[in-house]
Amino acid sequence: MTQASLGDSVVQKEVHAQQQNNGVAANITHTQPLWLLAEVTYRCPLHCAFCYNPTDYDKHTQNELSTEQWIQALRDARKMGAIQLGISGGEPLLRDDIEDIVIEAKKLGYYSNLITSGVGLTEKRIQAFKEGGLDHIQLSMHDITEEINNFITNTRTFELKKKVAAMIKNHGYPMVLNVVIHRYNIGHIKEILEMAEALGADYVELANTQYYGWSLVNRSQLMPLKEQIDEAERITNEFRQKVGNKMKIFFVVPDYFGNRPKKCMNGWGEVFMIVTANGDVLPCHSARVLPGIEFPNVREKGLEWAWKDSPAFNKYRGDDWMKEPCRSCPEKENDLGGCRCQAFLLSGDAESADPVCSLSPNHHLIEQAIEESKNPQIQAQPIIFRTDKNSKKYASGESNERVEAFHALP
């Protein structure tokens, strides 16, 4: 799945919107795991070049949590205030107990969201989800052309996605489309938005690739030019004017081309809690790349301990851990120093400013990556697709192709 699937950017927008209003609505509390993301499996029939899942995900495909364990996790998180539930993966539909998870989520009062590639969604299953009380389905789309869709996912899924979109609409679900943007589809933004409108989408997330997991390995192959991003944003704004409130479009700006980092996950251990297929509890998708941190697992002490007391969740809460230039930076509340994983992967120092920041002593690493992505020789290297075979190679250490430059396996 894509990182933006989780909607952190969207949450931030809502938070900001509330700060600006006249005090009718309050801010979202920042002490509870309001969002629970259940990455129920890392298995996936697609092989997306930009997948943010860990490159060694194959390690975690044999020891998935059972239905009972998921239900327990849902109950425990709800007690702690979780209210938005994302069911994600991998492809969650590869599990046959999503129906049971949905029913329990409804019983507990979650607003539940299935994040899917559409593969495996049948009439029978969607009916069961509807009856079970699933609130919405977010479908990933890739391009208007069959060629690019099939290329970037390394599968023939183009026709299927259109069929699934219609199915979602027919069952009265809001249509939420997530489109990851990269070099291969950034020139088609207008057509993509037109397709979304024709499909009757209510929400469209144009999520520029963020470089984690497989997308970091394929960074030079995926990164568009700054000019292309500006143009895409311009087209998006134009389209927004045209469609108005009927279709909400979120354009998630890529951090590599900004001067300031994103407030990653809205703050470490502030609102998001992720439970992975094997039960690890993480404050962000790629946290396992960080050195010297033992992440809690639901099989051990449970979710409440994980969120409140585990050393891992407390490690980067607040700003005590910061170094200069962040520590004395007047802007630190805006971004909390950015992403810890990005800082470590690129610079080898998890406590340093996110290199995306122009004030970071490591900012040259980002500039270098942008330059590399323009180098025809590097561009010409083939994409390494997210396949079990490639993952096994990374997990076993048999391959370190295009990951040597990073300080952990992405």
Binding site: V11, V24, A25, G81
Partner: protein
């Protein structure tokens, strides 16, 4: 966008939105795809009364009766409608 709230207007929660009491937040919330808004007491009281039949005037009258001591409550209620409509949390039924 101008939202002219008329006393005879009828509003309901927008499609795919859910309104519920959240014990952990000690407040009402509106939930929708990828988002949540926590409502202050007053706002929650307004939305709670939208059943697809009540007019804006009905809501104002009911709230005035429930909270007789509140000052200038009407202005606040209309302000709440304006905000909720501009954020697309509500849809106009009539």
């Amino acid at each position: 966008m101008e939202n002219n709230i008329q006393p005879t207007d009828i509003y309901a929660l927008a499609f795919h939105h859910r309104f519920q009491w959240e014990e952990a937040q000690n407040s009402y919330v509106i939930l929708f795809p990828e988002g949540m808004v926590k409502l202050h007491g007053g706002a929650g009281e307004v939305i709670k009364r939208l059943d697809g039949k009540a007019t804006v005037a009905d809501v104002v009258a009911d709230l005035k009766a429930t909270f007789p001591d509140a000052q200038e409550i009407e202005k606040d209620i209309i302000g709440m409608f304006e905000l909720a409509v501009s954020k697309a949390w509500l849809r106009k039924v009539n």
